[in-house]
Symmetry: C2
DNA sequence: TTACATGCAAAGCATTTGCAGATAA
DNA sequence: TTATCTGCAAATGCTTTGCATGTAA
């Protein structure tokens, strides 16, 4: 899988949350600026819609869940973040733009990135009429006490 | 990953849906018998709760969604079937007891098994206090027309 | 000025739960 | 007989939508 979308790189001094919006031709509204900053200017992490909502509130800014969801979906469609469906009713979003897989600690609802180079994935070729969209690898881990 | 749960093998003449129940020490109620038959006696396939519900109804049997979900969860905990969370609000259950991964055709909500031997997966070792529960590999495919 | 974004509240949807009545062993 | 299961209906939790209002350019 090597779809090469130009993605915002949090390490580059020439980028920042604001021009993520500009570069992608979406209006730089107050809410989107706040969200972009939280998503792209805090290093690699995994974020849920609720996390984001809370962080914005803690910052004393006004936002609604609908806007958080709209924006997450928009950023996802633009390829700026990636949705990880770890469980029924639990989506996390990932701002790591390097190719990687996920280690999911089930009892903590916590996700850790595994660099692709540590996983050797060799999938069979697919017919020309189909397009590879994404490969999710979720390695699910639980602590020993937690066996049901 | 080599957790070796004794799993019902649909190919064996010495097994059938009914003794899946006996073997696992769960009461052979009418509903569970019907469900077990639909799940284990129809070859490899991917089934949703709703599918099952409809199939039971079509068979002129009485069942409720609650029972379908209870039973699916129970069979999953026993390791008899495997839950695949393909999307938010969409779980499929898989009665293939061989180790394998999944190809998910997004626009058709269809899943195809990929035998493990076709994917070369080499994950890093995990700490002793943690237990590998499961590795999900979902290769997501969409038809070319379907690019958003 | 106006196309687009926001926010509320309501709707949606798959799944879970509480509980009274039914049933397998 | 009794522990367990079923089925209904209501509750849940996340996410989406409709629509009136607000706002960036």
């Amino acid at each position: 899988m090597s779809a090469s979308i130009e993605v915002y790189n949090p390490m580059s001094p020439y980028n920042n949350a604001i021009n993520v919006l500009e570069k992608n031709g979406i209006r730089a509204t107050k809410q989107r600026r706040v969200l972009a900053k939280l998503i792209f200017d805090k290093g690699k992490r995994h974020i849920s819609a609720e996390n984001l909502f809370d962080e914005v509130k803690k910052d004393d800014r006004k936002i609604s869940m609908a806007t958080v969801y709209n924006t997450l979906k928009q950023f996802t469609n633009l390829g700026l973040i990636k949705e990880i469906v770890v469980d029924q009713n639990k989506s996390l979003y990932c701002n790591n733009n390097q190719s990687h897989y996920h280690l999911y600690i089930e009892d903590e609802s916590k996700v850790i990135d595994i660099p692709t180079k540590n996983i050797d994935l060799n999938i069979p070729s697919i017919p020309a009429c189909l397009q590879l969209h994404n490969i999710d690898v979720i390695v699910r881990i639980r602590t020993l006490k937690d066996q049901k």
